[in-house]
Every structure is written in structure tokens, then in C-alpha cells.
Amino acid sequence: MCWNSHAYAILTTTAGFVFLFRDDVGNLWMSQMFASNESLAPGGYVLPSTLSQHYRFTILHILYWFTHLTETTEPVVERDLAQVIRVMDRYQTKPLHPPPPNITNQPYTTPMPQYANTGTGGYGQYHGNYTFSLEPVDELLLDFKPWLAESRCGGRAFRATLIEGNHEIVVKSWDSYKHDSSQRDNEVSIYMKIQSLWNVCVPRLVGKGEIDFCHSLFLEFVKVKPILIILLQ
């Protein structure tokens, strides 16, 4: 229902029903849990008769009405952004601002910081300077489909594409119902500390943010060699 044009849907067990409605911008609305008989009432289900003055108002009436709605409602028009995930509370790594101009016109007495990540694959001299900072950004959009098998990278990591620049990245997510953001934040701080090794032996940290109910961080994608080839060598 998330990525098709259906506006209405029903989640059902043998005796309980939940009614769903999705609008254009991807908001999914969910009704209370309705029961077809009184035995489910202690479990938090609502009896349809509570919705009407008529005591004989039943779940079949609701189903009939909902079926009518699905038949008569036009499909939801999907917009271009309908398949894009919008990251909330988002931060991206950015190169630090250049140093302020030397207003005294005196030459620098110490060498200016250099980018350690030369991309040559060698281990550069660590100079202790941070060349990237994590900064809030106005918008961060991902093409992210974790339900596809080809998106899975093992554990809590999934492949995705950063819409801006069409960069392939890896999304690592923690379920916020089970974890607070401390593990994610610790990992982000470690990546920032070892940024002189980005693109050398550690993937570059792209950013962090919240995706639905998950704390997430984003890393550059590294194309790996199949394990079978490594073993055969």
C-alpha cells in the first residue's frame, strides 16, 4: 500500500479489523481496532455498535461501506517524490570552511591543514586536524527500499541512493523502539574522529538522521569482492 495507488486497505485477523487510508503525500492513517464480537473487547478492540446509536450496527456494515469507498475512490496520484524517503533531523558531513583571511599579511608559520584523504589507498600522516564537520542540512532525500532483497547488506545495513548527486550509500539503522540514539551517536563520533582514514581503510561518513522510527547513519558504499573469489585465491 505504501508504494501503489491504493487509497484504502484493511488489516484483518479472523475477528479483528483495522482500516487504513493513505493520502497523496504518503501519510498513512489507521483506525482503531474493531472487533466482530464482544469477546475481543477486553483486548482493546472497539465494537462497531459504539459508533452508532443503532445497536445492531456491525462490522459487516463497516466492511460494506469501506468496500463502497474502495470502489468509488480514484487511485492516489503518485508524485515524483512518492518513492523518496525524507530524512528527518538530518546532518551531512561537509568540508570545513577555509581559514579566515590573514589580515596582518604575515605568512603562515605553520603548514596549512591538508586533506588526508588522497584516495591513493595509502596511509597518510595523521595530523590531528578535522577536515570535515557534521552540519545540519535543509533536506536529505534517499531512494531507500529496505524491503528489497538486493538492498540488504547484512545486519542492520541497507543500500540506498542519495538523491542529491545520485550517490550510492549504505544506511545503518537502529530501531528506536529498542535502542536510544547513543549507539548511533557513538559511531558517528568515532567516524568523525578517524576521518583521516576515510576512503583509505574506513568508508566516508555521509551523514546521520532519522528514518521513520529508526536512528540512522549513512556511509559511502564500498563494492566488495565475493567471498568465494577471496577463498579461491
Binding site: 568515532i190 574506513v202 564500498v222 569482492k225
Partner: protein, 75 residues
């Protein structure tokens, strides 16, 4: 390849960081056979160690043992 892995972890240790979760699943071999270290979820910064992180209190092995004692998953 083992030398490359050792060198990669040595570089991380030089930055006063202990990975804390050294295992095969967190080491990638890229197509150009370069070694990539992942998953710094359990990593810790050891302040003031100046690269000398292989002490009784702070080492990859010690962190792994601590996690095993706490009953956390480690493989």
C-alpha cells in the same frame, strides 16, 4: 591480506580509537583488494594513550571479553 588488516587496525589505534568488535563480518575486502573496517558501534576513544592502546585496561581483546561477560552478542 592479514598484514593489510593488521595495518588498518594499527592506523585506527594510532588515532586513539579501539574498535571493540573485531571480527570477520566487520572487515570488507574491496574489489581492488583494499581492506575496509566497518561497524564502530562499540568503538571507544582512549584518551591520552598516544597510540599505546595495548594495555591491560584498553585493548581489542579486553573490550571483547568485557562484552562477552556482559552477555552481549559478539559473533
Amino acid at each position: 591480506m592479514a598484514n593489510k588488516v593488521q595495518q588498518a587496525f594499527a592506523e585506527i589505534h594510532k588515532l586513539d580509537v579501539i574498535h571493540g568488535d573485531v571480527r570477520a563480518a566487520n572487515i570488507l575486502v574491496a574489489e581492488d583488494e583494499s581492506i575496509w573496517i566497518l561497524d564502530f558501534e562499540y568503538a571507544q576513544v582512549v584518551f591520552g594513550s598516544r597510540g599505546q592502546v595495548f594495555t591491560d585496561e584498553a585493548s581489542e581483546v579486553r573490550m571483547l571479553l568485557d562484552r562477552i561477560q556482559r552477555g552481549e552478542p559478539y559473533c
